[in-house]
Structure formats: structure tokens, C-alpha cells
């Protein structure tokens, strides 16, 4: 692999970093790589790191087309160039600013509370890590977490929230007013639970319910009801 392109598999999918050089050349080089390794990455989502390099919409479309050719979906752009960010917005991609030493130390406001904002999509957002205190996950569709949601971590989902782990933070499902949304967790003991317009507060005694099994919360007859997962009929 040349030093101008690096491809890395991460927890969140594939990360492609484009280095210096002519964009056309880089795309050809990427094409050559994917020809060899493409099958291996098939079906994955891709984050492309552009850094501060200028990149316009036609470049972005070419990049997206190239990835589509190998059954990969361009999902996220990491860039600071204004045009690149605009073009990515226009294409409905997720944008995250590049993390640099200067930025993370100077721009403390933005960095202090990392907020993941997703553009409206119907698909689920999959988080494979611990959502820690002060971290906020926002998504217009369902959210799936493989990991814990710690106290004062927050999930704001447009639809269902599924937590394969301990839900100890603030969990909001169906926030766009979807009363049919449910919240499931292996250990459901949140500080606060919100489904649609209804809010329920967690137990005052923190340790009261540490030994529960998997549970599901949903709205029944105008209030939030939590039931053990055993024998739940989802119905419609």
C-alpha cells in the first residue's frame, strides 16, 4: 500500500485516509487497492478522512461511486475544508471535524461534550462501546448499543432503543412522538426513561434493582410499563 492511502478496519467500519497528491491519482490508487481487497470489505460502511485538503462535490460523488462499485457505502467524512463539508452535507453524509492536537486542546467547548448527530435515516445506529457519563448519542432511527450506558450518559432515539448491556443512564425512545417505541436492556435501571411524550424516573435506591433480568419498557394504557423479557408478546 502506498503512503498516500491508508485503509483501516475499525469498530465503526472502514476508515480510508487520503494523503497528499492529485485527487484523480488517489482515486485510481484506491480503485486499484479495492480491486485486490474489495471483496474483503464488501458491504461495509466507510469513513473517509480528507484532513484539510480541498474537495468538492464532484470529487465526493466520484469517491462515493467508486466505493459503491465495491458494494461499500460512504457514510462519514472527516474534513475541515468548507466545501468538502458542504458537499458532504448536501449528500446527507455524516461529518466530523478532524481531531488535531490543537483543536482538542483549544476548542474545549465543542470537544467537552462529544455529541453524535446523525442525519435522518431509517436505519439503526449501532454503537459498540460503553456510552459514558456526559456522552450523548442522538439518532433519528433506532439505536442499538453493545455495551453499557453509564449514569449520565444519554441516548436519544427516534425509535426503539436496544441495549445489550446495562442501561444506567438516560434513555429516550421515540422522541419524535412515536408512542409505539420500546426500550430493551439486559439490565434496565436508568436514571430516567422517556418514551414518546412520557417520562419515568429511575429508582431512588440505586442498588435496589441490580439483579434483574432482561426487561422491556413500553407505553401501555397511557403509562410506561417495564416487564421482564420472558414471555413478552410484541404484537403490533
Amino acid at each position: 500500500m502506498s503512503k498516500n492511502i491508508s485503509i483501516k478496519g475499525t469498530r465503526d467500519g472502514l476508515t480510508v485516509s487520503l494523503g497528499e497528491g492529485d485527487i484523480q491519482d488517489l482515486l485510481e490508487e484506491l480503485d486499484a487497492h479495492l480491486k485486490v481487497q474489495g471483496a474483503f470489505f464488501k458491504g461495509g460502511t466507510v469513513a473517509v478522512q480528507l484532513g484539510a485538503r480541498p474537495f468538492d462535490q464532484s470529487d465526493l460523488e466520484k469517491l462515493s461511486e467508486l466505493l459503491n462499485k465495491y458494494d461499500m457505502a460512504l457514510r462519514t467524512i472527516v474534513a475541515s475544508d468548507e466545501r468538502a463539508v458542504e458537499a458532504a452535507q448536501a449528500m446527507g453524509l455524516r461529518i466530523s471535524p478532524p481531531i488535531t492536537a490543537a483543536k482538542s486542546s483549544e476548542n474545549s467547548e465543542a470537544a467537552a461534550a462529544p455529541v453524535r448527530t446523525a442525519v435522518p435515516v431509517s436505519g439503526a445506529l449501532y454503537i459498540r462501546r460503553t456510552v459514558r457519563s456526559g456522552q450523548v448519542i442522538r439518532h433519528s432511527g433506532p439505536v442499538v448499543v453493545l455495551g453499557d450506558v453509564n449514569p449520565s450518559g444519554e441516548i436519544w432515539a427516534g425509535a426503539d432503543v436496544i441495549i445489550w448491556g446495562r442501561a444506567h443512564g438516560m434513555i429516550c425512545a421515540g422522541i419524535s412522538g412515536e408512542p409505539g417505541a420500546v426500550v430493551c436492556a439486559l439490565e434496565l435501571n436508568p436514571l430516567m426513561l422517556r418514551i414518546g411524550d412520557l417520562v419515568a424516573r429511575g429508582d431512588d435506591n440505586h442498588k435496589a434493582r441490580t439483579k434483574t433480568g432482561p426487561e422491556m419498557a413500553r407505553i401501555r394504557e397511557g403509562q410506561i410499563v417495564v416487564e421482564p423479557w420472558d414471555g413478552i408478546e410484541l404484537g403490533e
Binding site: 492536537a101 482538542s104 486542546s105 483549544e106 459514558r132
Partner: protein
């Protein structure tokens, strides 16, 4: 000489960041390493007192940041340990007197000249915290077994994980295994479950820490429970494969007592 830069942080104040920094610094120096400890708590400095060097400060980190001295001129050598140095903070200014870039400059000048740079971070997650984490590639997060400290540690770990591609290890300070069974205390298992990061050390509650403060000789100088635990932590910093026998004992002792509790039908 390969220099490792480690920032000691916690989010919450009063959990023992400075005590841990001083104790680990002394322990590493006693183990033959050359160590620089940096106090970044401008305006509320106290690492100098813990090391008993408060009467030797001529230049401080703000003097360096503002170009009045070189890094080496501001370093104070420990009274007893030839390989331990302190870069003190200023007491007259506030956190905005230095920047992240200043800290990076300090560390760059010291790189290659010592084995370890330990940076004592101020409480909070604001400017002072940003300064202290900027140059480091390793982090020790200090917590005590209480919900407030653990939640703040969780926040800090989240920030470090998101912004720094770095090794983060946990130091549980002032641990009282006899109280872990109590409902309002968090057991070591609880803490590890919530924070889910590598455990560096568990330091037992030990009044010697307080008693040593006014002598200016951190607890690692004497044979006390906390001193021994800090020395073991330092060994583990040097060599990650080093195990902690007393820690294991502590954990298994804890499990045993809980098990005994269950035998007798106590509720946890």
C-alpha cells in the same frame, strides 16, 4: 532515553491526584528512574508542598511559558532523590496563564532527558485539564469508591477515549475493603464494571498519607500499606506484566468475605 509522558487526572477534586502523582514520582525515582513531575494547577499549586520543596521555588511553569526562564532553570531537584525533579506551578496566576502548547513545549524539551514525566492535572474538565492532557500519551485516572468520583472518572475516561488514542488506566484510591459490603459504598467489582478500563492499582485507605503530608516525604518513602501499594503501582507502570500480589489478595479477600456473608444469609 525514551521518555513516557503520563498525565494523572480524575475530573473530581480531592480524590488524590496530587498525592498519587507525588507518591508515584517518588516510587519511580526510588526504583532508579529519572522522573520529572509537573504541577499544572496554576493558582492552586500543592505538589511542591507534598514533596517538601515549597521553599526552593525560584522559577515556575508560568515563568517558562512567558519566556523568563528555560525549563531546566525551573526544575527543582528533590532533597533526597537525585533523579526526581519538580516543575512547579505558579501560585499567583490562574489556569489561563499557560496553554496546551506551553505544556507540549515543556515536554518536548524534556523528552530524551528523563524516563518519566508525570503531569498532575487540576480538577475539572476545563482549560487546566485541556493543558494537562495535551502532551501525554498515557493516562492514569484516579477515583475513590464513591458514586460522585466514579461518575466524574467515567466522564474523563470518555473524553480521553474520544479525543486521545491513548492508554488509560485506573487507580482506585482510598479503598476500604471493610466498607465495600456497605450499600452506599462501591465495591471494586462495581467500579471496574462501570468504568471498564484496565486497573493499574488499588491504594488502601491509610492515615499515613495524611501524616506524611507535613513532612514533605510522600508515603512511598515509608513502609505503610498505601506506600507499598504505590510502589507496586510504579512497578506496574515500568513493566505492565508485573502483577500485584497484594491486589490479588485484596480482591480475593473481598470475594471471600462476600462469600462468607452469603453463607450466613446476609444480603449484599
Amino acid at each position: 532515553m525514551q521518555t513516557r509522558v503520563i498525565t494523572v487526572t480524575s475530573g473530581k477534586g480531592g480524590v488524590g491526584k496530587s498525592t498519587s502523582t507525588a507518591s508515584l514520582g517518588v516510587a519511580l525515582a526510588l526504583l532508579g528512574k529519572r522522573v520529572v513531575v509537573i504541577d499544572t494547577d496554576v493558582g492552586l499549586r500543592n505538589l511542591d508542598i507534598l514533596l517538601g520543596l515549597q521553599n526552593r521555588i525560584i522559577y515556575d511553569i508560568v515563568d517558562f511559558a512567558e519566556g523568563r526562564c528555560r525549563v531546566r532553570q525551573a526544575l527543582i531537584r528533590d532533597k533526597e532523590l537525585d533523579e526526581l525533579y519538580l516543575l512547579p506551578a505558579a501560585q499567583t496566576r490562574d489556569k489561563t496563564a499557560i496553554s496546551a502548547a506551553d505544556l507540549i513545549r515543556v515536554c518536548n524539551e524534556l523528552r530524551g532527558q528523563c524516563d518519566y514525566i508525570l503531569i498532575d492535572c487540576p480538577a475539572g474538565i476545563e482549560h487546566g485539564f485541556r493543558n494537562a492532557i495535551a502532551p501525554a500519551e498515557e493516562f492514569i485516572v484516579v477515583t475513590t469508591p464513591g458514586l460522585t468520583a466514579v461518575q466524574d472518572a467515567d466522564r474523563v475516561i470518555g473524553i480521553l477515549e474520544t479525543e486521545k488514542n491513548a492508554r488509560v488506566r485506573l487507580l482506585v484510591n482510598r479503598y476500604r475493603s471493610n466498607l465495600a459490603e456497605h450499600d452506599s459504598m462501591l465495591s471494586l467489582d462495581d467500579i471496574r464494571r462501570i468504568l471498564a478500563v484496565e486497573l493499574l492499582a488499588v491504594i488502601p485507605e491509610d492515615e499515613n498519607v495524611l501524616l506524611q503530608e507535613k513532612t514533605g516525604r510522600p508515603v512511598t518513602f515509608i513502609k505503610s500499606p498505601a506506600g507499598v501499594a504505590f510502589t507496586q503501582a510504579a512497578r506496574r507502570i515500568i513493566d505492565p506484566s508485573e502483577s500485584l500480589p497484594s491486589l490479588e489478595q485484596q480482591i480475593s479477600g473481598n470475594r471471600l468475605s462476600r462469600w462468607v456473608g452469603r453463607l450466613f444469609g446476609e444480603r449484599r
